[in-house]
Structures are given as C-alpha cells and as structure tokens.
Symmetry: C2
Subunit: 283 residues, 2 copies
C-alpha cells in the first residue's frame, strides 16, 4: 500500500489562488481597499524573523498588505501591550500576528490575550480558544486549524475515529484536541507525564505529533493504516515522527517539510482575508 | 477490597465550616459587608427551581447573601442579557449564577458569555473556560471543579494516570477533560460518536461519567482498582454508571447521591466567597 501524501504545499497553493481572487474582488468592490495583516516581531531570533518574512510574503502573493512592526529585544510587556492596543484601534488593520516566542521578560499570554477577538486571525487568545471549543464563531489557532483544513481537503474521515494528540501546548496540542473532538473524533491527549505512551499511540487511527522533539515518536508505535500528522519541524528536515518507515503501511501522512507548515501560514492569510472581508464589506 | 467512598457531602460540610469563618471574618473587617451571589431562574422548571433554592440555602448556611432573580418562561434573550448586565454593574453582587437550562427561545451561550469574568463564579463563560484551559486565573466550571476538589480532598493521584471522560458538554465534559489534563493526567474524551466505547473505558485509571443517561456505563466495563466518578443524577437515585457491582473492586467511587452533587454547590459558594473577598477587601 502506498500512503496518500497530505500535500500541504499543494493545498496551500490552490487556496492562494482562491484567496487572490477574493482579495481582487474586494479591492474592486471597495475602491481599492485590501485586507491588512499586522505582524509583530520582537527581538532578533533568526527563525522567528524568517517565519514573519514568510508570512509577509504570503500576504504579498495574494495581493494583501502587511504592516511590519519590529520591536527591540528589550521590549517590555507594557510596551508590547501598547503596540497591540494601537493595532486593535487601527481601523486599517484586519488581523494581528504576534510571532511566538517573544523574549523571556515579556508576558506572552497577556500580550496574546490583548489582541481583539475580531483581529485574532492567528487564533492565540484564550477567548478565541474558549469560543472555538464551545463551537462558537472564532478564528482557529493557525497550526491546528491548518491541519483540520488539510485533512478536510483530502476527505479524511474523523467522526468516530480515535485521534491521539501527543503534546498539549496552548497553540498546538490543546486547540488540536478540541478541534478533533468537535469533528466527532474520540480524542486522547498525551504529554510528557503520560505513562505507556507507546500503548496509547498504538491505538491511534489518527496520530498528531506536536511534541517538539525530532523523531520522538517511533514508526513502530504506529499501526498500519493510520493517518499520520506531523506538526514538528527540526533541523535536517525531520518532524516529531519517524516517518520514513511508515510510507508504505499507513493510510496517509503529512510530509516534512511541505505538510503542516504551509497550511499554518495559509490559514493565517485565509483568516486574515475573512476578517478583511467582514470589516471592509460592512463599512 | 472495600473501595474508598468519595464522600462529597462530608467534604462539602467541612468546607462550609471554613467558608462560614471566612465570611464572618470578612463581615467583621468590612463593617458588615458579605459576599452576595445573584441567582437567575428563568421559567418554572421544578428541578431548576429546586437547584436554585438549594444554592440559595447553601449561601445562607455560610452567612452569605443571595439575590434571587426570577424571570418568566417567555423571557427573551435581550431581556435576560439586560438583567445580566444590571447584575454585572451592581457593585454589591460578587457572583452570578444563571441556572441551566434556560427556555429554548433564549440563546443560552450568549447569556452565559455576558457574565463578567470576575463574577463568573459558576464558570460558564467561554473566556473563563479558555483561561482555565491555558492555566490562567479563572473560576472553574462548578461541577468539574467540584470533582477536582473532591479528588484532591482524598489525595487521589492524577499525574500520569489515564482519565477517560465520557461526555463532552460545555459545562461538564469539556472543562473536566481540560482540568484533568492540567493536573497531568493523560485524558481520553469519549462521546456519542465514539466507537468501541467499552474498550476505552476498560483502560481508564479514572473514569468520569458525564453522559446524562441512567447507568449507561456498565460496571463490567470498568477495571479493578479504578477511580470512579459519577456526575450523573437520575430519578431513583442512580447516576450515569452502574455502581453497585463496583463497590468491592474499585479503588474509590463517588456515591450517588452525596458525591458530585454537593461538591457542585459547594464549589459555587466557595468561588463566590473568593470573589466577595477580592472585591470587598480591595475597596
């Protein structure tokens, strides 16, 4: 059996074409207005700078604008909160991305939660998480929401399936678990304190690696015919799951790179376009 | 082996003594002020009326006041929102309980979410759920938080244990799962679409029945030595779990009645006293 490749790069590219059309239409109808995503980068971490740049480039590709805010390494929580507040009050800004992680002196949670719900297109606020969890309208957290969109694009059935999420971080494991639950999967959440991790993973119809350690999840723990989603990305182009031995015995898998990563950025711009449309067409 | 009885009634009674002392002290220090819980009952459902009355009585027993708001069956969402808004703005009210369920014409979620975070002592808002999930300060949803308090009172270890929650409702299954996860349990959430429910339950070190159907979960599905938590209550004094055959082979169980129920009300008043203390001592 050859596994279905959940090609996030291809789905992202296809979606970008649709988004370009939506942005062009919006511009035409509004006398030139376009959705604007504000990206905030604090400090000089090269990986974070690269991610922010990739996000800006994605905006550009679909005709959206981005507003780049770059703050020094020594920025305080109060200064960042003030910046977010300015962007909340800026009627031209439709979405706000605060690049994770921020330097250690900053209260990241307080800053995430300062983002106005209607501009939280990266899905990082507690309020947005709570609303999503309860089935209320809210932008989903970008990585898990990107995974849900990818699974949907390939018609992967989730209802009644046993999904095992390894990891419980605020912007990955936890929202992933609630999204899968709301899609009617039976969900198990494993983490660093889990006993018998292998036994849990062996039962997974759908396994999501969201643990942040290279090839931490071994191929032999995963059953034949499973759907394998790898949200990790590490130097050398490996994810959280030992993928190579699985390619001829699982039902489907996300490649690393080119699986989850492109869908994260795609979800960010997808939700930014949504927000821009809502705001601009309501004027 | 005789199972440990997780006697919620006894723990609630003991806690009420402590709460009485805290309320008395607060009155003394503040020139007679006491925490006030506003209870809102919409319509004439007799079970709901009984619950609200029990909650009012619990306030009375510890020296707190309650403000009873009773609205007619035909109340609209707008009218209820207005009432909640009044209570949010009333500086003498420290907690607000909207008795679930409300009549079908009312948007219960909108009304829950209108409750100010600092007065959400029943833990029903999306914001409170999101904050609790992310480990931020928030009042927990009363029934699952009551269960956590009960398990803590009997030193039941949760870290690394496999907890299986059967049910995913907004005010029981979902917050229960997140609270157990935050206590470092490995958590599986089962529900009406779950396949092979028995197989999941058989693995549980801790099983929480939150499904709302009398004795839906059979004794034979539960392994020896498990901790059994039954959040159901049905006519005839049975819960969601077939309990009788388990009493000599599990490690611990919540009796029905007298287990989870008293802890729910106790948590509501516990959190109301907290809120009252915060507000009154900050004046």
């Amino acid at each position: 059996m050859t596994a279905l490749v959940l090609d996030g790069k291809a789905i992202a590219k296809k979606t970008e074409q649709e988004l370009s059309q939506r942005v062009a239409k919006l511009k035409e109808q509004s006398g030139g207005q376009t959705p604007i995503l504000a990206t905030i980068l604090v400090g000089g971490d090269p990986a974070s700078a690269t991610y922010v740049k990739m996000k800006g480039n994605a905006c550009e590709r679909i005709g959206m604008d981005s507003l780049k805010v770059e703050l020094p390494e020594e920025t305080t929580t109060e200064e960042l909160l003030q910046e977010i507040n300015n962007l909340n009050n800026n009627p031209d800004v439709h979405g706000i991305l605060l690049q994770h992680p921020v330097p250690p002196q900053i209260d990241e949670r307080a800053c995430f939660d300062a983002i106005a719900l209607e501009k939280d297109v990266d899905g990082v606020t507690c309020l947005g998480f709570g609303r999503m969890s309860m089935g209320e309208d809210a932008y989903g957290c970008a990585t898990p929401k990107g995974i849900m969109r990818l699974l949907a694009a390939f018609d992967i059935e989730l209802s009644g399936k046993h999904a095992v999420v390894v990891g419980r971080s605020p912007i990955l494991g936890k929202p992933m678990a609630l999204m899968l639950l709301n899609a009617n999967a039976t969900v198990t959440i494993c983490h660093s304190r889990t006993q018998n991790l292998q036994e849990h993973i062996k039962q997974a119809d759908v396994i999501v690696g969201a643990v942040g350690k290279p090839e931490f999840i071994k191929a032999e723990w995963i059953k034949d015919g499973a759907v394998v989603v790898d949200a990790g990305y590490h130097p050398g182009g490996v994810g959280d799951i030992e993928l190579e031995p699985l390619k001829d015995r699982v039902a489907a898998y996300t490649p690393v790179p080119g699986g989850v990563g492109p869908m994260t950025i795609n979800t960010l711009i997808y939700q930014s376009v949504d927000s821009g449309e809502k705001k601009i067409t309501s004027q």
